[in-house]
């Protein structure tokens, strides 16, 4: 039976029915938890829940599953792969003491790496609920998660970008134009990744070939990805397509993932298939996952959990398959889950922290939709905070405007702003390439070349005379 938790504040007695309810009520406010009916009913109840949660031993999360072991393969993954040896140094702690430990000088980058496999998503989610934004930033900065394929992502002092050249009809010249714009602004070291307008195998293969040709011709130390369903990419691999990274949106419950049309065995098959192609040069991380708070509730698959706990469970799925990149698309889902800039900012910092603590190479799509109460200023704030926190990568898109997915994310300019004010650099292999191609006049001071680099000036001579777009 689920345990109930009681406490009294002044004359008022509070009761929380089970761990899931306690976790939900301890969560900083957001519209998705209100929608799910799991949010604290008052500001006081929220802090009381946090106080009760702070007293719980971390071992509670090993003994009380939020979603039953028998019902959910992600619960089974979390429990079966829990590393008791790695857990030993923090085994005796309560959630509140875990926060103290994470902030303490004992928790060095090495110590944090060592306990990683002993931390479950629920422990990470629980402690994050007790933490202020500055705590989430400080601890995340100490956690280092480095991955590699054709370059190395996540090294200290680096901020990479996904070049996202989406086009509403997948027009190859339109996509190429956005790729060129991005490269000439120093974007694309995390991945050149296209969301196809139409989700089918043939279209995906075409876009894979397009990016492969560009990467080969200019010898760019980066990787490509078409963000199509994992089963489509598997088919593309069978057809001999040049697949660098396999994409999939993932959630933190088995039912969420079934609603997305896959399960853990599908991801295992995909990882193996992509690794067999052996296309990486400096590493073998071949998966690209996207997540975001609210996806489980949206799929009716949240089992009464708060959305941030569901999100943290998705990172257990991610880390199982050794991804190159994990991207929380924080403001994409809309105001019914994260209402405004404040909620989006908090969620972005929580996701980045939980991901990094669990050993996931976390990046963030710092973004919002036009029906959310958010604007460019909110994005500037979150981008800056994540840059300080050591976020592995952000998006890069022309002028912040995704003309295919209809939302706003960080631009090529935004990424350069962050690199400049925070003294961050691109992935080392890519940085050398930027220098070699003369895209920057001085890459160390982020000073772009005012003139068009020779290799690209030559390419522009091949532009068609008449625009095909819209013809």
């Amino acid at each position: 039976m689920a345990q109930t938790y009681h406490t009294t504040v002044g004359s008022r007695r509070y009761r929380f029915n089970g761990l899931a309810e306690l976790m939900a009520k301890a969560t900083p406010p957001r519209s998705g938890d209100r929608l799910a009916g799991v949010m604290a009913e008052s500001a006081e109840e929220r802090v009381v829940a946090q106080m009760v949660l702070a007293e719980l031993p971390l071992t509670t999360f090993l003994n009380e599953a939020l979603i039953p072991y028998e019902e959910d393969e992600i619960t089974r993954l979390i429990i079966d792969e829990h590393d008791t040896h790695a857990f030993a140094p923090i085994r005796h702690l309560t959630v509140g003491d875990f926060r103290n430990w994470l902030l303490s000088d004992q928790a060095t980058s090495e110590a944090l790496t060592a306990v990683r496999a002993g931390v479950t998503p629920e422990m990470a989610a629980a402690v994050s609920k007790l933490m202020r934004n500055q705590d989430l930033i400080l601890v995340a900065k100490k956690c280092q998660v480095t991955t590699a394929f054709r370059n190395t992502i996540g090294l200290p002092g680096r901020l990479s970008t996904r070049l996202q050249p989406n086009h509403p009809t997948d027009d190859v010249t339109g996509i190429a134009a956005s790729i060129l714009d991005g490269l000439l602004y120093g974007s694309g070291d995390a991945v050149i990744g296209i969301n196809p307008a139409t989700d089918n195998v043939a279209q995906s293969v075409k876009l894979m070939r397009l990016m492969d040709e560009v990467i080969n011709k200019y010898e760019i130390p980066t990787q490509s990805c078409v963000l199509t369903h994992v089963t489509n990419t598997l088919e593309a691999i069978e057809q001999g397509a040049p697949v660098d990274l396999v994409f999939q949106s993932i959630g933190g419950t088995e039912a969420t993932n079934r609603s997305f049309g896959f399960d853990l065995s599908t991801l295992a098959e995909a990882e193996t298939a992509a690794q067999t192609l052996n296309r990486g040069t400096v590493g073998r991380n071949v998966m690209y996952f996207e997540t975001g708070q609210g996806s489980s509730l949206s799929a009716g698959a949240h089992h009464g959990l708060d959305q941030q706990t569901c999100e943290a469970r998705a990172y257990a799925v991610a880390r199982k398959f050794n991804p190159l990149l994990v991207n929380t698309v924080v403001g994409f889902i809309g105001p019914e889950y994260l209402f405004d800039g404040k909620e989006i900012t908090r969620a972005g910092l929580e996701d980045h922290f939980c991901g990094k603590l669990l050993g996931v190479p976390m990046g963030c799509d710092v973004c919002y939709t036009n029906h959310a109460e958010a604007d460019q200023n909110d994005m500037d704030n979150l981008l800056t905070l994540l840059g300080v926190a050591g976020c592995n990568f952000v998006m890069g898109i022309p002028g912040s405007d995704d003309i295919m997915l209809n939302y706003q994310t960080t631009s090529f300019h935004d990424a350069l702003y962050a690199r400049r004010v925070l003294g961050l650099k691109a992935a080392p292999e890519f940085e050398q390439w930027l220098e070699k191609m003369q895209i920057f006049e001085d890459v160390s001071t982020h000073r772009l070349n005012d003139r068009l680099p020779a290799a690209f000036a030559n390419s522009l001579r091949h532009l068609p005379q008449e625009p095909r777009y819209g013809a």
Partner: protein, 278 residues
Amino acid sequence: MAHNESPPIVVENPWERLNAFTDARIGLGRAGVSLPTTKHLDFQLAHAQAQDAVHCALDGNSLEAALTNTLGLTMPLIRLHSHAQDRATYLQRPDYGRRLSDESREHLLNAAVTGQRFDLAVVIVDGLSALAVQQNSAPFLAALTECLTRDANDWQLAPFTMVEQGRVAIGDEVGSLLNADAVLVMIGERPGLSSPDSLGLYMTWAPEVGLKDDRRNCISNVRPAGLKAEEAARRLVLLLKEARQLKVSGVKLKDRSEEDVLEGNSAKGSTRNFLVAD
């Protein structure tokens, strides 16, 4: 006389002419590494307009008039409303937007012909852009009905329905109440800065309340500057025919409408572009 020859404050991008090939905001130039003032204010204006568009209401009368003119509708559009009473509720309660109001359910049951089965129910939903629905429904439905008429199979269409404050899944309830084998939801997608008028198409075989997204096939960005109505209709009919034959939809039914690009050297399958021209 010697003039001040200091370099320009705003650096233009020499590749700005690539703008002719995409609506993406490329070649914006820069002040340092930041957006020049004019480009920054262009963006602010577009965002302001998109925010305003989200709150614009669907005009049922003019939609019905457009459909009557284009398609010669023989029966009136059945007008329905979701459980979300207004836009503010709609934005925060997606669950309300997925179900019909009690009155609308009653209304639809009365309007539906008892016992009759249909091959396809078309449900027009405002979603997040009434503008998209208002502008693209008639041209798309004209293209769709033409494709269906040309098809060797006979397609019995249910009376057209229109839902205010609706989400994609509301089509499942409408389709099942109408006894339709398949449902097509035409819905206004979330407005983008450059595309406040984008229509999304969602097709589900054997609709019933409670289906998940893996049972739907989606074709997005249907608008004059995106996927043209005729091409969208062609792709949708291919999906519909396959769904009807295999009696499935969603992930189990891959969109193979562009499979032909893999065969031969058709221009459509070419990746040829200026970046890799030589």
